[in-house]
Amino acid sequence: MATVDVNGHSVELDEDGFMVNLDEWNEEVAVYLAKTEDVAELTEDHWKLVNYLKDYYKEYGIAPMVRKMCKDTGLKLKEIYDLFPTGPAKGACKVAGLPKPTGCV
């Protein structure tokens, strides 16, 4: 566990760098988290994916399945890895402030 400071706003993270309190998320936090996942800058496509994940989570309380995510955003899995090199779960979900994926990962 660690608490980091993002422009005067303190954010609690777990060992894997996922947010502990999801309501601490804001766009500056997203930019900070993106850097920890090898994303130097969040482009329009990054935001499209991040916002989609946030909205989906808000509506359904879970992260979307990969096929659904690709269909809804029009992004191919390869393009998602181009945007987030550590993948949709570790990369994009973390930046979008979703809870850490669980199960037999």
Partner: protein, 406 residues
């Protein structure tokens, strides 16, 4: 004598079987805290690892299983203790050079502990820190190793040693395993599915990889012509004292064999043989698998969660496996199965459970396979059968026609 600080684990250094405690102690300072933590778990009868963990390397969505100790202050050396899955060579054939390379890399980056091998097949490197993950991945890649699978993806395929060392093998199991692993690298490294999917390959129905129980897709070698019989060798067995009737003929599950004790001749009614392997296993020199070889494809094998444990069941009684066309027919089928599953499954629903929920009829339609009797052990015992509207319309029309023509 000084009192040991790990009395419970010390018990496990006794006895005849190789002791994992002794092996771990060879790690010296590197494994000291892990052993102490394990001793504590033995005392308290509970695990000291936190729930979950998401770590990995660039470009991949799986391959590393993150773990954190729940007592990091007391056991700082194992505060981060991630596991790396390294894709094993087909059939687990190594030369000492590749094992030394693997050991050197692991010595540099990790705890020095391994699991040779994980149940799915991977070489398991047990215990390293997040900081080391990308560097060790780079070193492994440089040395020609790649990570195995983890997560909702194609897991590392594995196979029996096949034609390399076994005369029963009905196709080159190691080649197929290698070929499928390479063909589906994307599916393996980048989780894209509702849940995990495993492929296991056995050269014959002895199923030395337990594919039927431990893989969603089991590829099991078989043949469809006659068992090859060498009568002179049959006679040798009889002369050496084998009671051919008792040990072979009477044990055949379909009772399709007969033995002429005077002529010392064995006869097989191959149309009624189910290729169970018993006679071949018993008289290895006299009997041999047929010449027209291929595999049966079984679907759905999985462990208990959620719907109960399943053994795989037949989707294709016989499929030819051709190296020449890169296994085109098999691959087309695999892709259709995965596609239907990916489109229809709920989160964390294995393909076997999806078939259970939606029915074989839907599944077979999606993969363009006709239903055949070999797919079931017995027909359904209830009459709740669904007809499609078209089938009912067609049936009514054909009955009307029959009326008219009377």
């Amino acid at each position: 004598m000084a009192l040991s600080n790990r009395p419970l684990l010390d018990n496990l250094k006794e006895g005849r079987y190789p002791s994992f405690v002794k092996e771990m102690e060879k790690g010296g300072a590197k494994t000291e805290q892990l052993l102490n933590l394990l001793e504590r778990s033995y005392e308290e009868k509970k695990v000291h690892w936190k729930h979950g963990g998401i770590v990995g390397v660039r470009g991949y969505g799986g391959g590393v299983i993150g773990r954190y100790c729940d007592l990091p202050e007391e056991y700082p050396d194992v505060a981060e203790f991630h596991t790396i899955r390294v894709n094993q060579p087909s059939g687990w054939f190594y030369n000492s050079k590749s094992l030394r390379t693997l050991c050197d890399i692991w010595e540099k980056h990790g705890s020095g502990l391994t699991n040779m091998h994980g149940a799915t097949g991977d070489a398991i490197l047990l215990g390293t820190t997040t900081e080391h993950l990308q560097p060790i991945f780079n070193d492994l890649s440089e040395a020609g190793f790649d990570l195995g699978g983890s997560g909702s993806n194609l897991r590392t395929p594995s196979c029996c040693n096949g034609e390399a060392r076994c005369e029963y093998s009905c196709f080159d199991a190691m080649h197929l395993c290698h070929d499928l692993t390479n063909e589906y690298q994307d599916e393996l490294h980048r989780p894209m599915w509702p849940y995990k999917s495993k492929i296991k390959i056995s050269g014959c129905p002895n199923d030395c990889t337990s594919s039927i129980a431990r893989s969603d897709i089991a590829i099991i070698g078989t043949w469809r012509d006659a068992i090859q019989v060498n009568q002179a060798e049959v006679a040798n067995y009889a002369d050496a004292g084998m009671d051919v009737k008792r040990e072979v003929v009477y044990k055949c599950p379909t009772k399709c064999m007969s033995y002429d004790a005077d002529k010392k001749e064995l006869n097989i009614d191959n149309d009624n043989c189910t290729r169970c392997m018993h006679c071949i296993n018993t008289m290895t020199k006299a009997l041999h698998v047929g010449k027209d070889r291929g595999a049966s494809l079984l679907i759905g094998g999985k462990a208990t969660i959620v719907q109960s444990a399943f053994l795989g069941w037949v989707v294709k009684p016989f499929i030819k496996l051709n190296k020449e066309d890169d296994y085109a027919e098999l691959k087309e089928l695999l892709e259709k199965m995965w596609d239907w599953w990916d489109e229809n499954a709920k989160v964390r629903e294995r393909i076997g459970e999806l078939i259970y929920r939606k029915g074989m009829t839907d599944f077979l339609k999606a993969i363009d396979i006709e239903a055949v009797p070999q797919m079931v052990k017995h027909p359904r015992e209830n009459p709740y059968f669904f007809w499609t509207e078209e089938e009912v319309v067609a049936e009514i029309a054909s009955r009307k026609n029959a009326e008219v023509s009377k």
